[in-house]
Symmetry: C2
């Protein structure tokens, strides 16, 4: 059945491309309200295509914002794995439109790449999922797993409706694992799998001391300066190695296994690249971890902003009554962002003199996620990449967060596989493109994935 | 001659008050350009009064701004001391004028106080100097010292023309010491002498690191955060005791003598007052020094402002490319502000990684000044207060600076006696007033001062 499905997909390439061109031609820009009708058109187009592909109960479901398109195929039966596929059909704006070689919504193939807004982010990648299911159903009438798909239309505006939707439809969306193709691999010859994302605790502190700004000539030397106090707090957060100094901070950190570290060492991330991107020469931070580990696999604590006193031109001789900072911590499994916020608050509080006040405000908290490299999902995905790309993938982590992944993990209990097929692709920039070979290999990778996932169980 | 002069002054009290009322009636507000002609009128009025008092070569001297009125009496001869008297005839604005009980430029005596803008700051106090000289000349035909007087019209706008004037007229203004009455005593029963003022080095630092703000999710943990770096610099400036940590910073500090510390202990400055003024309970800083010593006699280093990264609402996940701070150090004799700026810069530089840049900008530097309590001038002034007020003065220092005092000391080599006669007096506020008893005692104190100063030589 695997080979028939792959053969079918191969035979349908031209048709798949034509469909993709049609899909990419809809200017479904979510950031611009004048494209509201294009968004709806894209959702309907998608629903039709999903139905044509053999998905069932396809529905354009309203939300407070743009609709979410849902479809499922549950023919593998209750004993089989259920995979929840996520993608988004909305796209970024196209400005500056003058810089596009071909118009952003008139897709054009040049040198094996399809140029259009959304080609890689995310229409092209999510469309591969529909085509994979279509090929499997067309070739053998069935899939080895159950599949549910949700495609949202608000990813480029921060997915405001998605989490409420997931929480409201937990039963509908119940699945053993998630599958998301909205990212990149290292390069054409180096497939890669992001198996962990960091969470976050973003905190703002505000320290108030004297009842008003004081004249530094009259009170200097007798008052604990609030700006200095905030500086003392900031400095206290790290030791000289760059390790975080908050008591209890590392208690729940799942240590990197030797296998993981070995796997991460295979990710091509060079000092030269870091130097080019930062403009700096020498990295800072925990010496016992590699640069990639520091930026993806270790929790961090960064000052995102700080302030206190006079910032205008010239000099003003005050002791500020108030100073503050915004500090965010990136978290790794199994740190609990709310607990980290509490530990942070308790740590900071000890610096505050009895006659000063401290406010601690949590702006954001997000959970770290991991799908371990020895989990059935990641092992199946790795085999699928190897089968399709001719090389096993490298395993990597990402420093940032993808909220939907944390939501799937937290609300549905579903580990998520991030199965990216893109490259740099000028996403969010003019001349976005997607390599057709990657589109086709993507379809193949997905077909293999379902095959290996089911055969492991 | 002393007693005749004092008796003469006593006999002339009514006339002196009438003249003061006339002088206070001129709305010589320097901050408002519509009062330009009043400023000139006040300068001319003053010149006439000085001439009437017996001063010679009285002249309204133009500057780039408001005129300076000069007069002298040099009849004591080249062997005698020469005293340079400074005051200012310009006044603060009067807003909110509704809050005045009597109109600010229609002086009114109520309960032994004269109410008018400038009554205490500084017309009333400077006028006492003219009347003292007048009384001595009227009573005995001569003074035991030579006197030069300059009265400026720009003190309330920062004295922009005064330093250039002093530098340009060094010969004209040459004197053995300066005498300024533009301040206050502790209370009616506690005369006080401010014998030292602090200098200042006001510095702004700016640290630049990465070539742009970096995403903290992608680069956090691998980059020395510029806001953290500035925090590290700020924290490095003090040890846990509040003592300044910059190498060499204290090298030139003239230690407080046991006599000075003993004298400072007599100044009524209570913890309760500090608590009331700051709104705090517990002072910070060098434990081995009293609160008054910390705020007046010890050099300090205060953060007046700091900044870095995102300060808007909500959260933004960046590592700031740049951060900075404004830091001012109050200096005591014999610290050299330019040298302190250099020491500060050298200290800060060591924190800067090789691939970061540091800018150090000196906004202001001012020299500390001291007229030692065992100097002939301070001893004469102390005796003059005691003779007039019935109690010896307490000796105190001030935390801030009075630029003209540093200029006199630096440009003319003249130690300055700060002989204040005011109290709180609502200076810079509605219903400014000056106690008539203080005005009359002021005249007596000045007469005594000249007497004791000359008899000591």
């Amino acid at each position: 059945m695997l080979n028939q499905a792959l053969a079918h997909a191969r035979n349908q390439r031209e048709q798949h491309l034509d469909q993709l061109i049609e899909f990419l031609g809809i200017p479904s820009i979510s950031t611009l309200s004048e494209h509201k009708r294009d968004i709806e058109r894209a959702a309907r187009w998608l629903a039709t295509d999903m139905t044509n592909a053999g998905l069932e109960d396809v529905e354009v479901m309203p939300t407070a914002g743009n609709p979410i398109v849902y479809g499922e195929w549950l023919g593998a039966g209750p004993e089989a794995q259920t995979v929840l596929v996520y993608g988004h059909y909305d796209v970024q704006p196209v400005d500056p439109v003058d810089l596009w070689v071909s118009p952003p919504f008139e897709p054009q193939v040049r040198d094996g790449e399809i140029y259009a807004r959304g080609a890689s982010d995310d229409k092209g990648q999510m469309f591969a999922h529909i085509k994979a299911v279509e090929a499997m159903l067309a070739a053998g009438g069935k899939l080895p797993v159950n599949v549910k798909m949700i495609f949202e239309g608000e990813e480029e505006v921060g997915s405001p409706s998605l989490e409420p939707f997931v929480i409201e439809h937990k039963d509908l969306l119940a699945a053993n694992s998630g599958l998301v193709s909205d990212g990149r691999i290292v390069d054409t010859n180096t497939p890669s799998l992001v198996y962990a994302l960091r969470g976050m605790s973003y905190i703002e502190i505000s320290v108030k001391g004297p009842k008003r700004d004081l004249h530094s000539g009259s009170y200097g030397g007798s008052v604990h300066n609030t700006a200095q106090l905030v500086a003392e707090i900031i400095v206290s957060l790290h030791d000289e190695n760059g390790t975080i100094n908050i008591p209890g901070f590392y208690d729940k950190v799942r240590e990197l296994s030797p296998e993981e570290r070995e796997a991460l060492r295979k990710v091509p991330y060079s000092l030269a690249q870091w130097q080019e991107e930062t403009g700096l020469k020498t990295p800072w931070g925990e010496k016992e971890y590699t640069l990639l580990e520091r930026t993806t696999a270790r929790p961090t604590c960064e000052v995102n902003g700080m302030w206190g006193g006079f910032q205008g031109e010239g000099g003003k001789t005050i002791i500020p009554a108030e100073a503050g900072a915004k500090i965010s911590m990136r978290l790794v499994p199994d740190q609990d962002p709310q607990e980290i916020t509490q530990l942070f608050g308790a740590h900071v509080q000890q610096f505050i003199p009895a006659d000063y006040t401290l406010e601690v405000l949590e702006h954001v908290h997000g959970w770290p996620v991991i799908t371990p490299i020895d989990s059935p999902e990641i092992r199946a995905a790795a085999r699928a990449y190897e089968a399709t790309w001719g090389k096993p993938p490298v395993f990597t982590r990402e420093g940032g967060s993808i909220p939907i992944v944390a939501t799937f993990q937290k609300e549905l209990g579903a580990p998520v596989v991030l199965m990216g097929f893109g490259l740099d692709d000028n996403v969010h920039a003019p001349n976005e493109h997607f390599r057709l070979e990657h589109f086709y290999r993507g379809i193949g990778t997905i077909i293999h994935y379902y095959h290996y996932l089911s055969s492991q169980v």
